[in-house]
């Protein structure tokens, strides 16, 4: 798994590549928490190049969404969700908890 954070004026763009499972999810959770710790609660998570995500990744996303939405200070949105991952998120009932976008610039512009 590879994770990069890019700061925009109104949000942070976090790009996750590779595979997220119980082994790598802590690293993903850490990147999301690091954004929160520096006062960033509007997060665009781009997973176009994410090949795989297990429920360990879903849990990290859920924890981040909770923290970001607290006090109405922001939210996590997902962009470029690959089909297989979208299907698993749907099964888990997670698609209702996250806005999703098909275009990174539109997602960044949402904030």
């Amino acid at each position: 798994m590879e994770i990069t954070t890019q700061e925009f004026k109104h949000c942070d763009l976090i790009t996750i590549k590779g595979r997220v499972d119980s082994s790598t999810a802590p690293q993903m959770a850490q990147a999301l928490e690091a954004a929160n710790e520096s006062g960033k609660y509007k997060l665009v998570v781009d997973i176009a190049a994410l090949e795989y995500m297990s429920s360990a990744g879903f849990r990290a996303l859920l924890a981040a969404q909770r923290n970001c939405k607290k006090y109405n200070r922001g939210e996590v949105v997902l962009v470029n969700v690959p089909d297989r991952i979208r299907e698993a998120l749907e099964l888990a009932g997670f698609t209702e908890l996250f806005k999703t976008f098909d275009d990174t610039l539109v997602a960044v512009g949402h904030f």
């Binding site: 499972d21 119980s22 297990s54 849990r59 888990a92 009932g93």
Partner: protein
């Protein structure tokens, strides 16, 4: 059936997914099924590593997998603490963000992704999880 042993550590999840994925693919399962079979195996192994072998550093996972006809069978044996998946509450998928529970998701996904999931806690710490999926 092909069998392989893994040390019960998260770092081997990649290899676990590759093992079942290769067998599923060779057995004629399509990309979507292969992904879902890999996800189910990952969730099963992750649960064992996290719960059955909680606090245990030298646990073993015995993974067997094979395709016969239109059916793939995955058997995961561990020797840790047994747990009955049927007593684990299913997550409330309608709960809103603040009420959403974090546990139980792996078991829920395994049941959704596979056609059958059976669990048997045999004597002498032989816990056997069997998962079956058929081609559509």
């Amino acid at each position: 059936m092909q069998s392989v042993q893994f040390s019960a550590k998260f770092e081997f999840l990649d290899e676990i997914r590759e093992f079942v994925g290769a067998i599923a693919r060779a057995g004629g399962f399509g990309d979507k099924d292969v992904y879902n079979i890999q996800l189910a195996a990952d969730e099963a192994a992750s649960n064992v590593i996290e719960h059955a072998y909680e606090g245990v550093s030298d646990g073993l996972l015995e993974l067997s997998c094979g395709v016969r006809g239109n059916t793939i069978t995955i058997i995961l044996v561990d020797h840790g603490e047994s747990f009955d998946p049927s007593v684990i509450p299913l997550p409330d998928l309608k709960a809103d963000l603040s009420e959403r529970k974090i546990g139980g998701l792996g078991i829920f996904l395994m049941r959704k992704l596979m056609d059958e999931v059976h669990y048997e806690a045999k004597p002498n710490k032989n816990n056997v999880l069997t998962m079956i999926k058929r081609k559509r």
